[in-house]
Amino acid sequence: MAGIYIHIPFCKKKCTYCDFHFSTTYHVYRTKMIAAICSEIILRKPYLNVDSSNPTIETIYFGGGTPSLLNKKEILTILNLIKENFEIIPNPEITLEANPDDLSIEKLKDFKAVGINRLSIGLQSFREEDLKWMNRAHTAEESFNCIQLAQQIGYDNISIDLIYGLPNLSLAEWEQTVQTAIDLNVQHISAYCLTVEGKTALKKWVDQSKISVANEEQQSEQFELLIEKLEKAQIFQYEISNFSKINLESKHNSSYWKGTYYLGVGPSAHSYNGNTRSWNIANNINYIKAIQNQSVWFETETLSAKDKFNEYLLTGLRMKIGVDLSKLFKIIQAPKSFSEKLNEFINTAWIVQKKEQITLTKEGKLRADYIASELFL
């Protein structure tokens, strides 16, 4: 099994906290970009074919940027090309990331018609003031409307993005936000703590003390409340930032954490085939040129056993299913210091071990990075 990720590097506006790769001048070279992405799908076909096994594609994911800017024809072109070039299981999960302001009745119908069966909607917040400083293109009202609309049209696998740790977001307000999300009756929620990334407007404002984001204590409180409240509503945390109703986890995103192969096409997209990771040029014009000339448009690194060991820990610990030690030790037999550290974390009740499986506790999840790095080889 494998997945395909298509990065659509365009947005209407630049959100103040975002450091993802995209451009707001897409109309200029939109056609060329779609053509380049299509070329890449064909050129990179051999990448997933590692041991002549040609894995079947089970998930397709349009991410961005803002893939909901695409029209029906563009999506169809890409999907058809994938079908022509790869073996695909019946009923693959096909996700499209969408912004509420793009989701008109027509668009929702179009997307459904071309085969999109899962929507990941970037709501971020229900507070108007947040959407304003974030420079989002939608209003809180549009958020509610688009979800109801999508559900009416027949989407039965909808994910929404939420952000906590926002400036001036009280715990009560956050609880209200989570409740609203539950009431929307969506299948999946991704909730991220606001991260101040370098080279963003937010970073500048924080540095200039124009905006202050939540402190660690508040972040932790909001995170814990989120987990508890969603769990009561039968929406379970299956990864640090991802929650879903039973059996409605994001299959595509899970492949990143489970070590399933994936091919990423489009500027800045990453790929993985068990032995290597590669990443595309993160510049739209250079990407198009490189594809046109068939020169180099991606870098590759080969993973050592140590890299694989560390990556499995890093991603595995983020998941509810955790890390299977027998599988981990098949990569490398870990030294004694590993089990000593592990025992330390079991003693502090940050990790629990059941047979060969280790998972993070609630307290552990708050410190997933620290724990992973401590256990690294």
Binding site: S241, Y262, E311, L366, R367, D369
Partner: protein
């Protein structure tokens, strides 16, 4: 002998000594234009980077003047207060000195103290106004300063520029005409003074000397007066550039040369020692010899405890060409096994640390430097205990008194900074002894203060309160009784011996508070809360708390994030390896030097 001229250069850092020296080498054809690597004299990377000379050097130049061939021996001097004894020996090997003053900056403290040394040794001073090409040059004003200082005439001062080559011929002419030829008796028993030595990995120690009387011949059996050891003069010669060693069969009175005699240990060759012949020795040694004593002490520990033996090996290698470095093994509860090292001063300490890293690839933890204290016990008040490490201070109840070394400090600055500098020096327990206006705008301040105060962040603060317009020099003036207490630091209720310091009682509270705050800043948050406390004896005088790590998790970790995130966490883990564990607390290296950075 009448055609030999021996001279040195006295200059402040950045006043263009090396550039001007390079010009002299070029003009005399000692170094070709092609070979001219900027600042040929400073051959250690470190020296070139810092723009200062750490070791002395000697170079012989040949110059034809009015039909006569002359031998000019340029003896370069170290340019820092830490090495003032070496400077005095270099000066003692010369008959003249070029006093180089930056025409845009004027005289600095370092220049003055070295100049006095030269005058004391009856050297002929040739004043030079350098950097005349700079738009900011103030020749009249600086000339007045020079005239004030050495009582020369206006026309004696040579305007020059190392950059454009202005004045270089005039300088050479003055060296020949004004500096007296050396005096000495070729027929007397050999009497030569060592003014420097270097370590060569293939040849062993190479000692540089100046012959006062007699002749040294290749193959002679020589004796070093002060160490009493004797050697074979396997190779002798003169010093030039590329190659630096030019073997000769004899070096006569008045001349400068080198000797290689199979010596492996730098400490056998002491700067200032007298070389004579074993068979026909001179009656007395050349005056001024001193055994250099370290002024500043600090612990040096390997970052990885397993590297202890390698550190010892590296230090021994370093000692081969730096005999002023002394060390002995010590152990610390916090840091394990390491060495207590003695340095000539703070710069010397930094140099050793940097050389360990560069030349031996050894990353080390250096503890807070301290001076050498005297402790007198009640039992026998005349019994003096030397304390080179604060953690070795005896229990206060048994002690009669503690003495600490004092220095006479000289600061030269612009008049507008006098107030700020006085405040700083008084804060550092200094007492103003003298204040002299060198010119309307330049003031020389003389303080007496504890050496220990110089060790703590003095230079940086002097620089900042004077915006860089202050130069500083000092000399030890003996020991004085002081009300000192040992301040301990506790992390998570455990005392960290490597962070203990002896401080003046009046300063302890303030310092303890600052130190706790600094440590709070430098020690990363850990899985548990860490109290940081300063204590005198059992009494806690300051406390801060490093809060427990509450949250450390990335929000997003998708396909494109994994590789980057893994590398980031691997780097974090790598960084932690360089930390030291004391009890349950992990301490980064720079925390051990926290006390030096209290005002950052």
């Amino acid at each position: 002998m009448k055609n030999i001229r021996n001279f040195c250069i006295i200059a402040h850092i950045d006043h263009g000594k090396s550039t001007l020296a390079d010009r002299l080498l070029q003009t005399t054809g000692t170094i070709s234009d092609r070979e001219m690597q900027n600042q040929a004299l400073d051959d250690m990377d470190l020296e070139r980077e810092r723009g200062i000379t750490i070791k002395s050097h000697a170079i012989q130049m040949n110059y034809k003047h009015e039909g006569q061939d002359y031998i000019l021996n340029l003896i370069d001097t170290p340019g820092h207060v830490d090495f003032s004894y070496e400077v005095s020996r270099s000066i003692a090997a010369c008959e003249g000195a070029l006093l180089i003053v930056d025409a845009s900056q004027g005289i600095e403290a370092q220049t003055i103290s070295n100049l006095y040394l030269a005058i004391e040794h009856d050297l002929e001073i040739i004043p030079i106004l350098n950097k005349m090409d700079l738009p900011g040059a103030m020749p009249e004003e600086v000339s007045d300063q020079i005239i004030d200082l050495i009582g020369c005439k206006m026309e004696d001062i040579i305007p020059a520029s190392g950059k454009t080559g202005l004045g270089v011929d005039k300088i050479l002419e003055a060296v020949i005409n004004r500096i007296p030829a050396p005096k000495g008796d070729e027929n007397a028993p050999l009497q030569a003074m060592i003014f420097d030595s270097v370590f060569n990995p293939f040849r062993g120690i190479i000692a540089y000397f100046r012959v006062r009387n007699g002749v040294l011949r290749k193959g002679d059996r020589v004796k070093f007066f002060n160490t009493g050891r004797d050697y074979n003069a396997d190779e002798i010669g003169i010093l030039k550039i590329n190659p630096s060693l030019h073997p000769r069969n004899e070096i006569k009175a008045g001349d400068v040369g080198y000797i290689i005699s199979g010596i492996k240990q730098a400490n056998e060759v002491k700067v200032g020692d007298t070389i004579t012949l074993l068979e026909n020795p001179c009656l007395e040694s050349i005056k001024g010899f001193e055994d250099v004593k370290p002024m500043v002490f600090a612990g040096i520990y390997p970052v990885d405890t397993e590297d202890y033996e390698e550190l010892r090996y590296s230090m021994e290698k370093l000692q081969l060409n730096d005999s002023s470095l002394v060390f002995e093994p010590e152990s610390s509860a916090a840091l394990g096994f390491g060495f207590r090292c003695g340095f000539l001063g703070m710069l010397h300490m930094e140099i050793i640390q940097e050389r360990l890293e560069r030349e031996f690839n050894m990353t080390v933890i250096t503890t807070v430097p301290n001076v050498s204290y005297y402790a007198y016990m009640k039992k026998n008040v005349n019994d003096r205990l030397i304390v080179n490490n604060p953690s070795e201070l005896p229990d206060p109840s048994g002690m009669d008194r503690i003495e600490e070394p004092y220095i006479k400090a000289q600061v030269i600055t612009k008049s507008e900074y006098v107030g700020a500098i006085m405040t700083l020096c008084i804060e550092k327990r200094g007492e103003l002894r003298n204040q002299v206006y060198l010119t309307q705008d330049r003031v020389e301040l003389t303080f007496e203060m504890p050496l220990a105060e110089i060790v703590f962040d003095f230079y940086d603060r002097l620089k900042s309160v004077s915006r860089g317009y202050a130069s500083f020099d000092y000399h030890p003036v003996g020991y004085k009784e002081s009300d000192l207490v040992k301040m301990d630091l506790l992390l998570n209720a455990e005392q960290v011996d490597a962070l203990s310091a002896l401080v003046h009682r009046s300063n302890a509270f303030n310092l303890g508070k600052k130190l706790c705050l600094k440590l709070k800043e430098l020690i990363p948050r850990q899985q548990f809360e860490i109290p940081v406390q300063a204590a005198i004896g059992a009494k806690i005088i300051a406390r801060e708390t490093i809060k427990a790590l509450r949250k450390d998790v990335t929000a997003k970790c998708y396909g494109g994030d994994i590789s980057r995130k893994r590398k980031l966490l691997e780097k974090q883990k790598e960084g932690k390896k360089r930390m030291r564990q004391v009890g349950r607390v992990e301490i980064p290296q720079d925390a051990f030097m926290a006390i030096l950075k209290l005002n950052d």
